[in-house]
């Protein structure tokens, strides 16, 4: 994909599977000569990946068929874990929470990111400073973001409610009301992620040539029309890349939630990944490792589905382009 559009080599929306994904085969003698060397280069990484990623994936499936508790020996259970899972109200609830969280964070985050990118695109004094600061939350850990969010949204002494009190508003119950707790996690996630969206869109906007916009202006297009008809379609690759990355990120949110609400109150902010952790490893969970592995398998399948969609679309676009 066009990582070099507009004469700049700034990475534009270059996700996995994009661009020069597959290299042409090379022939005969040279390949055989290279093989030994290639494998030597590859072995260290392959060993790590096979042992710590691929093997666990296979084992996850095996364990998902077991009754394995935090103490005692595992027993074969067949598909019972899966049956239990589909009957487990908490599982569906956490799945719904995850979907809700994703729906609320991804489009909003991208819209905000695009807005800020449009704002910062072009001449603006102090632009680099703004960009750095908006980007900064991204390098801070999810834990730091979570505890900071917890403190700012503390329902009795937190900054947000104190600020609202200044305007005579009684702040909501950020900790004890499920809906508000979810909202606070979404706000904090947006704070952390919007810099990423901004960045990708900023890079994308560089690729929108001024000549195209000029032409649109001459045709009498208003600012909004130009954006709607010209700029946004041209940002397609960036949007798609962000969509996938944000989907995966939101779907896998763990650290921030763990530090901020630990999934509470009740299960209001428990996500699928949080539930997997809780079922297998958390003190307050059931200590059912087999069940946790089962949720893990579901998580992997969903992730895989997103990845496959991404590849499909990229492939189609490559063919079109």
């Amino acid at each position: 994909m066009a990582t070099t559009r507009g004469g700049s080599t700034v990475p534009v929306a270059d996700g996995a599977g994009a661009g020069t994904l597959l290299l042409p085969r090379e022939g005969g003698v040279r390949r055989r000569r290279g093989s030994m060397a290639a494998w030597t280069f590859l072995v260290p990484n392959l060993v790590l990946v096979v042992v710590f990623l691929l093997l666990p994936l296979v084992l996850a499936i095996v364990i998902s068929f077991q009754k394995r508790q935090s103490l005692g020996t595992p027993e074969f259970l067949g598909i019972n874990n899966y049956l239990d899972l589909f009957r487990d109200g908490v599982f569906w609830r956490t799945l719904w929470n995850t979907v809700l969280f994703t729906i609320c964070t991804v489009p909003v985050g991208m819209a905000l990111g695009l807005g800020i990118a449009a704002l910062l695109n072009g001449v603006l004094p102090g632009r680099t400073l703004y960009r750095s600061i908006i980007f900064l939350p991204l390098v801070i850990s999810g834990v730091a973001t979570g505890v900071l969010g917890l403190w700012m949204f503390d329902q009795y002494n937190g900054f947000v409610n104190n600020l609202l009190a200044v305007f005579g508003i009684v702040g909501p119950d950020w900790q004890s009301s499920g809906g508000w707790a979810m909202f606070s996690v979404i706000l904090v996630t947006l704070w952390q992620r919007v810099g990423f969206d901004m960045l990708i869109y900023l890079a994308g906007l560089q690729g929108v040539g001024s000549d195209v916009l000029e032409a649109a202006s001459i045709d009498g297009a208003s600012g909004w029309q130009k954006f709607r008809r010209v700029t946004f379609p041209l940002l397609g690759p960036s949007t798609f890349f962000l969509l996938i990355m944000n989907l995966i990120y939101s779907f896998q949110i763990f650290d921030t939630v763990f530090a901020m609400t630990a999934g509470g109150p009740d299960y209001s902010t428990t996500m699928l990944v949080t539930y997997a952790y809780r079922s297998g490893f958390d003190e307050h969970g059931s200590g059912q490792l087999g069940y946790a592995a089962t949720i893990g398998v579901i998580i992997y399948l969903i992730t895989l589905a997103i990845t496959v969609i991404q590849w499909r679309v990229n492939k189609t676009r490559d063919q079109l382009g």
């Binding site: 103490l71 009795y156 900790q175 499920g178 509470g264 003190e283 307050h284 059931s286």
Partner: protein, 484 residues
């Protein structure tokens, strides 16, 4: 300042304080001990001398009833009673307070000094997640040799057969040195796994200024005068009336694994969780409905912060410390935290008893220390366990940590609590309301699972689930746990 626990203990209900525990539970005790049968208030003295001669490590404790200096250094290093032990041992615990940390560090140093060639590696782990970590260690084969476990969780480990049977190391006399109910608490199928190390229970702490503002002039100073539920409701109502909307009258210590402390309300209402044979759940019951309705009303009446439910990261002492509530139900092990001159409570605070209804009741807090069955050095582990519960060590620990001892001899002794002995006095007296039933129900093998059920159902109840449904949920969950 010294406290002679006998002074207040003997005055109260029958075999009072921790002796009350022993008195009640000797009914079901299998041990040959009968020195503290119910009703007797003079037992402690004999118990003290008995235990000193039969004491685990044979420490010099006969004189401990007399005044010891506040530092409470053992008068002589306790000699090892059996063959010398050598080697290294890891000991995992959560440091509930600086006092506990200090107490355990002291024991480690003394043990290493008394047994040259031994090393105790202290592993401090946060309480939240402690047992999950232990479980992982057991699976991985690198669990600590010795670890701390509360009475309500010990059944999970003894039931799975992962703990060291300590009966070879504790003869009948050594076992008899402990308050019988607590010695029973560490048994599974009649076999002792570990040693009862300390107990604690809940009492009420309150801000004196806030009470004065609310016009609450008298606070119960003896167990007999403890508030009834109605009186407690009046207190809460008065506080509510004088507090701003952002503050609340009180918080209760049922957070997370503390969910079982809700049972105190059930017991106070005259109910029980299980049938007398401990085989079946005794719910639903009128008492349960009473308790559930009452505790639910804490939230509907805005007596308790809406976030002070079960599944929250804010514990009741945090609400008190951050001045969101002027009154809180806290375990006495938190007293060092509250009394800390720097990070502790800002304001003049006192303590009083739990409210009572048809009866008085409190929760069985406290911890045992257990060793792993497959520890490399069981003799060393057992020697360390014995050392931990030797009189001098236990005394020092309890004095630092503001907790109650488990040895009969210490139950009647003068302990120099390092902070707020007035509060300890309340808690010790409150401990006499931990009935035989409470102890038996709190230490059934499946109690850890029962506690999880309570966490889930109470959380739902406090968020609006009806009392009947919540109680039904508890009943079915507990039944499943008992059946498993």
């Amino acid at each position: 300042m010294e406290i002679n626990r006998r002074k207040f203990v003997t005055g109260s209900l029958g075999a009072a304080a921790m002796l009350g525990l022993s008195g009640c539970s000797s009914v079901h005790s299998n041990s040959s001990d009968s020195t503290s049968a119910g009703g007797s208030t003079t037992a402690p003295v004999t118990a003290a001398s008995t235990s000193s001669s039969a004491g685990p490590v044979g420490s010099s404790s006969a004189g401990s009833a007399s005044a010891l200096p506040a530092t409470a250094a053992p008068s002589t290093p306790p000699p090892s009673s059996s063959a010398p032990v050598k080697g290294a041992l890891s000991f995992a615990f959560w440091g509930g307070s600086d006092g506990e940390l200090k107490g355990f560090t002291y024991v480690k140093q003394k043990f290493e000094a008394a047994n040259p060639g031994t090393t105790i590696n202290l592993k401090v782990v946060p309480y939240d997640g402690f047992f999950a970590g232990i479980d992982r260690g057991i699976q991985a084969g690198n669990a600590p040799d010795v670890f701390r476990v509360d009475y309500t969780s010990i059944g999970k480990y003894s039931g799975k057969g992962v703990l060291l049977d300590v009966s070879p190391y504790f003869d009948a006399a050594a076992a008899a040195a402990f308050l019988p109910a607590l010695w029973e608490g560490i048994k599974f199928n009649g076999v002792p796994y570990g040693v009862p190390h300390q107990t604690d229970t809940t009492c009420i702490v309150y801000d004196k200024a806030a009470f004065a503002t609310a016009g609450i002039t008298s606070v119960p100073s003896s167990l007999a005068d403890a508030w009834t539920w109605d009186e407690f409701s009046q207190v809460a109502t008065k506080l509510r009336a004088t507090l701003p909307a952002k503050k609340f009258p009180f918080a209760y210590d049922w957070t997370q694994a503390g969910a079982f402390r809700w049972l105190s309300w059930l017991y106070q209402a005259g109910g029980t969780l299980l049938t007398p044979d401990l085989k079946k759940v005794a719910l639903p019951s009128d008492a349960a409905t009473l308790a559930m309705d009452y505790t639910k009303s804490f939230f509907t009446n805005k007596w308790t912060p809406a976030s002070a439910t079960i599944k929250t990261s804010q514990y009741s002492d945090n609400f008190f410390l951050s001045q969101i509530v002027p009154m809180s139900f806290v375990g006495d092990f938190l007293v060092p935290e509250l009394a800390d001159p720097k990070a502790g409570y800002k304001g003049d605070w006192g303590a009083t008893f739990l409210p009572k209804n048809r009866g008085a009741a409190a929760d069985l807090g406290g911890n045992a220390i257990v060793a792993l069955k497959n520890t490399k050095n069981p003799d060393l582990a057992a020697a360390f366990l014995k050392f931990l519960v030797s009189e001098d060590m236990m005394k020092y620990f309890c004095e630092q940590a503001i907790e109650l001892p488990t040895l009969k001899s210490l139950a009647s002794a003068n302990l120099n609590y390092v902070s707020r002995p007035d509060v300890v006095k309340i808690c010790a007296e409150q401990a006499s309301t931990i009935s035989d039933t409470i102890v038996r129900e709190s230490t059934v093998g499946s109690f850890a699972t029962i506690n999880t059920v309570l966490q889930d159902q109470l959380e739902l109840a406090f968020h609006g689930k009806s009392s009947a449904d919540a109680i039904a949920g508890i009943a079915s969950g507990v039944s499943a746990a008992l059946g498993a």
